[in-house]
Amino acid sequence: MNRPVLQSPSPAPVSAQSQASGTPPKAAAGMFAAYDTPDFFCELMRRTDPLPPSLQTVRDRLAGFDLNELRHRTSTAEAQLYRLGITFTVYSDREAIDRILPFDMIPRVLTASEWDHIDRGVQQRVKALNLFLRDIYHARHVLRDGIIPASLVLGNPNYCEAMVGVRVPGDVYVHINGTDLIRDRSGRFMVLEDNARTPSGVSYVIENRHMMLRLMPDLASGMPLRSVEEYGLRLHQTLCEVAPEGVTDPQVVLFSPGIYNSAYFEHVFLAREMGVPLVEGRDLIVENHRVYMRTVAGLRPVHSIYRRLNDEFLDPLAFNPDSMLGVPGLVEAYRRGNVTLANALGTGVADDKAVYAYMPRLIRYYLGEDPILDSVQTHICAEEEGLAYTLANMDKLVIKPVGESGGYGLLIGSQATQTELEEFRAKLLEEPSNYISQPVIDLSVSPTLCPSGVEARHVDLRPFALTGHNTWVLPGGLSRVALRKGSLVVNSSQGGGSKDTWVMAR
C-alpha cells in the first residue's frame, strides 16, 4: 500500500463546494440553429442521408455546446497559442510582431473511407512525381515519348541543370510533400496543387490536435481519432533512410534560414520532434566536399539535411552569390553524394502550374494506372483543343500564365470587364503556350465560429506525405479555413485560419 503524500499542515481546507461551478443551461436549438445550410458541399452537414456515424456524433455533441462557451474556449486557445509562441513572426524595422494562425474550434472530420481514398491518391501522386523527376534529370523518356513538351520542362525556371545525371539515394527526390486538396459541390476531392519544394504547415496539424484535446476533451472523448503524433519520428526515420550510402548512424539536421524566418516556429517544432539540431548556414561548413557542423568540440560530420530554404539560397557558389543564408560548397558536396538534401534540388519543376496540367497523363505514363485523385479540369492552351475551348469560354474560366509563379497575371473571367476580356484574348492568341485555363471551383465549406455565430466558411486540406524506402501519409492534414465570408482564399496572409483535421479510424 502506498503511503499518503506528506503535506504541510493546512490552515483551512479548501471546501469542495467552493470549487464546483454551475453548468449553464443549454440552448434548446443548439448552436447550429442559425446555420445556413449553404449551396456548397458542407464537410459536417453533408446532404447525404444518413450521415456517417462519426459525423453524426460530432454534430450532435457540437449542437449541445453553448455559443458563449465555445467563444470562451476559443479565446483561451488563442491566448495559449500566443503564450506558447506557436506563431509566425512578422519583423518590421526594429520590432518583432508575433501573430498566431487563428484557430477554429470546430474540427473538420474525414471518414475512414474518405481518408483511404486520399491516402492512396496521395501515395500514387508522390510516386509519379518522383519517377518524373528521376526521368527528366536522367534519360528523359517522357520528353522523347512526347508526353509533355520538352520546352515546358527544360525551359522551366525551376529546372535545375546541376541535377542532371546526379543519382540521389533511393531515387527519392520529394521526401516531404504537401498535396493541396479541395472538394467541389458534389464533395469530390480534387488536387489543386502539389507542394514538392518545402511545404509548410505540418506543425499546425500537430499543435492544433494538442490544443483540441486540451480544450475540447468533451468533444473528442471516445471518438476513434487517428493520431498525428508519429510525424516527427517518421520524418527522422525517412531522413535516415535516405542518408548517403554506407553511413550507418547518420547525423540528421534541420537547416533553417534562422529566427527571422516567418516559419521559424515550425522549424523549431520539427527539429525538436526529431531530436536533431536546428542549424543555420553559419553553423555548417564544407571541407573536402563533406559537410560539417560547428560544435563546441569542433567540427562534426552531417549526413542528411532537411532544408527549409529554397534552392537558390542554399549555396552562394552554385546559385545566388548574394545569399547570406547558404553554405558555400554545399551543392557540390551533395552532387558527389556525400550528403543528402531533402527535398532534392530542382523539385520545383514538378509542382509547377504548367506541369500540373500534365499530371494525370504522367501518372498513366509512369504507373499505368488511372489517377486516384482527380485534378481540376485543366485546358492546355498550347494544344489546339484547349485553346479553342478557352477562347470560347473565357467568361467562365480562370486563365493562368504558366511561366509565372504565385497568382500573377491571371484572369478570372466572371469578374473581368469586356475590355479586360478582349485584352486578355489578344495576349492569349499571341502566346497560347504560356497559358492554361480552369473552371472556377466552389470549395466545400465547414461550420466555423464567426462573430455573428456559427457560419459556413470555405476550407481546403493539405495532407503531408513522407517518402524514404516507402511513402507514408500522415493521417490528418492542415485544414485551412477562409475566415472572411464568401472568400475562397485560405492563405494565412489573407485572413485564413486553421482547423483540427480528424481522420476517423473507422
Binding site: 553511413v247 568540440a297 560530420p301
Partner: protein
Amino acid sequence: MTQTGTRFPAMLANLNMLLSRYGESMMWLARYMERIENLARLLEVTEAFVRNPDGSPGWDSILQINSDEDRYALLYPLPATEENILAFYITDSTNPTSIRAMAHMARENARSARPLISTEMWMQLNVFTQSMMELSTPDIRRNGLSGLCNRLKQDCQTHFGVTEGTLYRDQAWLFYLLGKYLERSDQITRLIDIRYHTLLPGGETSGSPLDITQWGSVLRSAAAYHAFRRLQPVTTTPANVVGFLLKNEGFPRSLMLNLRQVDSTLNALSTHYNLRHQCSPLQERIINLRATLEDQTAEDIISRGVHEYMTYIQDELAALQADVSAMFWPVAPLTPQMAVSPE
C-alpha cells in the same frame, strides 16, 4: 565508408555535441536574465539610498558603475535626472543596457536556442519579454520604481526556477550556468563598487551611523542582509560587509561562490564531454583569479583599494568570456583533424 567510424573515436561519435551557436545563445540568455535582475537591484538601491551632496538621489553614480556615462551623454543631457535615467535604463531600446534592450536580447537568444530549451522556459520568457517590450513610462509611474524592480526580480527568478526545474542537463545547461555564474560574479563587484564610489556624501566618515545604514542597504539589495546578520550579529563594519559579499562561501551572490561555480562548471564540461583541450586555459585563468581572492583578507582589499580590485576582477571576467568565445565558438573553426585531441 563512414566518416564517423574512421575519423572519430566511437565514444566521441556517439556524443551528441552541442552546436557552438547554441552554447553561445545559452550563455547569453543566462547573462542577460541575470543582468536584468541585477539592474533592477541597482536601480532600487540607488533610488532609496544613493544621495548627492544636496540630498537628491545620485543617479550619476549608476552610470559610473555600469560604465555608461558616454553612452548616456550621447542620448540625454547632463546632469542626469530621474526621468531620463529611468528612460535610459528601462524603456529606451536604443540603449543596449536598458531593460527593454536586454529583454529583447534575452528573447532573441532564447529563440535561437529554442530547439533546446523547455516549452515552459520559452512560455515564461515569451510572456515576460513581451511585457517588457510593452512597458511604458506611465506604467512605471503608476506602480513606482520599486514596484517595477520587484516585479523584474520576481520574473527573473521565475525564469531561473523554471530553468532549474525543466532544462535537460547536458552541455546546454552547463553553458547556461557558465553565463549565469560569470554574470553574477561581475555584478557583485559592481554592487560593491557603487557603495565604495558614491554612497557617502562628502563629509561622512567610514563607520559612521549613516555609513552603517548604507551598508545595510547594499546587503539588502543583494538579498544578503539576514544571512549577514546571522553570521555577524553584532558588528557591521565595511570590512565585514565587503568580506561577506566577496569571500563568503555560502552566500549565493558572493564572488567566491560564483567563481567556484564557474570552475566546477568548466570542470564538468571538461570531464563529462571530453572538452579538456578547450577548458584547460579557461580553468587556469579562473584558478588564478580565485587565488587573488583567497590570498587577501577584506582588510587587505580595502587598504589596497576596493575600486581597483573590482576593476581588476571585471577585466579578468571579460577576458574569460573572450576565451570562452575563442574556444567554443571560434570565428575560424578547427579542422576536423585538429578537433580531436590526440589521446
